[in-house]
């Protein structure tokens, strides 16, 4: 008999997949966006099922917010009439299919070649005990060990911020000191990149004024 987790996974996966198909099939741009919302919410559901609450909530807050903007743009662009329904040409179908099949192939190959064992199979976890965002931050800083190991040094256990304050002065935290590797630097680089992209987008989208015209 199928257990609860398998059943829930199948239900959510079917829901996500069907919504993804509906994104492609529907002609109305706003409806497409709505189906996209359901697809991404379904993905968040899978994350919740695996006990990755932080990732799931991030998925919701980012994509629902993102789709919100998409819908608003959809409404603004389609309000004129000719764009209410989208016509897709044959060439676009071909290009999109090729790209889609290539991406699917890449994902399937990666998934098949991964070092999966039976105990690495995802389990429905107790959200109370699942890895929290605090642990995420700790492993970014290099306080707790991460797998796969990073190539860069983290702050480690001997950093002054982690020292416990006692009456005799400071003493190192009780755990043994070891060389900690962390992903903090790559993470920060990605964050700064993202910030630059955001500022660039805001710059491009600003209200343009022609030189010499006083408005």
């Amino acid at each position: 008999m199928m257990d609860l987790q398998q059943f829930l996974f199948l239900a959510i996966a079917a829901f996500t997949g069907l919504s993804a198909v509906a994104v492609l099939v529907s002609q109305n741009i706003v409806r497409s966006a709505v189906w996209l919302l359901f697809t991404l919410a379904g993905t968040a559901g899978v994350f919740f099922l695996l006990g990755a609450d932080f990732v799931a909530a991030t998925q919701l807050i980012i994509y629902v917010g993102g789709i919100l903007v998409l819908v608003v743009f959809g409404v603004m662009l389609t309000a004129q009439g000719p764009f209410v329904t989208m016509k897709v040409g044959a060439a676009e179908w071909v290009v999109a299919s090729v790209v889609g099949v290539l991406l699917l192939g890449a994902i399937v190959i990666t998934a098949l070649r991964g070092p999966w064992t039976d105990d690495a199979a995802p389990q429905m976890e107790d959200p109370e005990r699942s890895a929290s965002s605090a642990e995420l931050g700790m492993s970014f800083l290099g306080v707790s060990q991460v797998t796969p190991p990073a190539k860069l040094r983290g702050i480690g256990l001997h950093h002054p911020f982690l020292l416990e304050k006692t009456e005799q002065g400071t003493k190192p935290a009780s755990a043994p000191e070891r060389k900690q590797m962390a992903y903090l630097l790559p993470f920060e680089i990605v964050s700064v990149h993202l910030l630059v992209v955001l500022i660039g987008a805001a710059y491009l989208a600003r209200a343009k004024r022609r030189r010499g015209v006083v408005t």
């Binding site: 919701l60 807050i61 819908v71």
Partner: protein, 416 residues
């Protein structure tokens, strides 16, 4: 039994699966269903109560009586009468409407509001799902509630509804930022996003509540509450339904049951926002004058029931404040709403976030700063007492002649 099912899910699940011989997954499902039913019942019952309260509060603020007949002296059953009227009302879908989106809108709004309740602890461990990132999760699902409003607004095929939906989108996308930033302030102090842990941390007297922890959490409470009011689209931020400009905004074309669902979602999210505020700032389920949790005095059952009651009453008080604000302040213009957010609330919340980070570092060096909470609590208590004293000692008998006593009762007037 319901209460136990919510509080000790493990125990009940084990009981069902071992004693009664049910499959484990079935037991999990049953417990989850019970928790969901309890929560949605609470949400709908409190919506019924809030509708009545809103009528009464608005009436008293406008110097009227409000409902007085249905169900006895105070019109207790007015909401039921309203509900019956809405249920028998004709359900209209405009010809121009996008039928799928029009039908979908209210349900998405209600789902967003209800999902937030799953992670809201009503007492110590009285929570449907004790999540590690409960605050974050609640903010995430509550931001999807707005999606229903926008879909409803777009799907109605009416320009008023469309304007309402667009305004709502602009407003919510903007207000989400300061709301999240001001939630981070108490989260930094508590060091966790688990609402249950944050609640347990505030055990004890009122000055242990996080709102009094330092000047920055004190400020964050006000910015959070303001942004929360705006994200529940309550006046003075109810631009999405501005009657004087947009007929009824996003719900212009809705009638009957679908309209009712929109409003249940709104009242539900008002309580959810108030619940977050109570847990993060106002001591959660603690009464504020006892040194320990109530369960230590009264035992697990009575103590937990009282905890839940205290939490609910605190949430209701904050909802009452939202109503008070709604019927006191005039509605802002849309550009004023955006300016309030982007030019004031956003910088303020950024400063609060930086400030509290610095405070945590400095307080580590100078333990004397840990006494700041007594100062803040003293000042707030003094302010509240002074206001009460002013209210009670100002005579209401100096009514200007030829005017009815009432709203003018407490004010001196130069009108002869």
């Amino acid at each position: 039994v319901f209460f136990l099912a919510v509080r000790d899910q493990k125990t009940v699940t084990d009981f069902l699966s071992s004693r009664l011989g049910l499959a484990h997954s079935l037991a999990v499902l049953i417990v989850a269903l019970i928790a969901a039913v309890v929560l949605i019942t609470f949400m709908l019952l409190s919506a019924i109560f809030f509708v009545w309260l809103e009528r009464k509060v608005s009436a008293r603020i406008q110097d009227r009586l409000g409902p007085t007949r249905v169900g006895g002296k105070f019109g207790w059953l007015q909401t039921l009468a309203d509900g019956l009227k809405l249920l028998v009302k004709e359900d209209i879908i405009p010809t121009n409407a996008d039928h799928m989106l029009f039908r979908l809108g209210p349900y998405i709004a209600l789902a967003g509001s209800f999902l937030a309740f799953l992670a809201l602890p009503f007492g110590n461990n009285v929570v449907a799902q004790n999540m590690n990132v409960a605050v974050f999760y609640m903010l995430a699902v509550m931001s999807s509630e707005v999606f229903g409003v926008i879909l409803g607004g777009y799907g109605s095929g009416s320009k008023w509804a469309l304007f309402g939906g667009m305004r709502e989108a602009a407003q919510v996308v903007s207000y989400e930022v300061p709301r999240a930033l001001s939630v981070l302030v108490p989260v930094i102090v508590a060091g966790t996003m688990n609402l249950n842990t944050v609640g347990v941390m505030q055990t004890g007297a009122m000055w242990h509540w996080l709102v009094f922890h330092d000047p920055f959490t004190f400020g964050a409470f006000w910015t959070f509450f303001t942004c929360g009011t705006a994200s529940c689209k309550r006046a003075p931020f109810d631009l999405a339904e501005a009657e004087s400009e947009l007929v009824a905004g996003f719900h212009t074309e809705y009638s009957g049951f679908r309209w009712l669902i929109f409003f249940m979602a709104e009242y539900g999210s008002m309580f959810a926002i108030s619940g977050i505020a109570v847990l993060l700032f106002l001591g959660g389920w603690h009464p504020g004058f006892l040194p320990h949790d109530l369960t230590e005095y009264l035992g697990p059952v009575a103590g937990n029931v009282l905890n839940v009651l205290i939490f609910i009453v605190k949430g209701w008080i904050l909802v009452f404040v939202m109503m008070w604000v709604r019927w006191t302040l005039p509605r802002l213009r849309i550009d004023q709403v955006m300016m309030t957010c982007l030019r004031y609330l956003l910088p303020i919340s950024c400063v609060l976030l930086l400030g509290v980070s610095l405070w945590q570092l400095v307080a580590w060096e100078y333990p004397v700063l840990a006494y700041c909470n007594y100062l803040l609590f003293g000042l707030s208590a003094a302010f509240v007492l002074y206001t009460l004293w002013r209210l009670l000692t100002t005579s209401s008998k100096e009514t200007p002649t030829q005017l009815m006593p009432g709203a003018w009762g407490a004010l001196q007037s130069k009108v002869p």
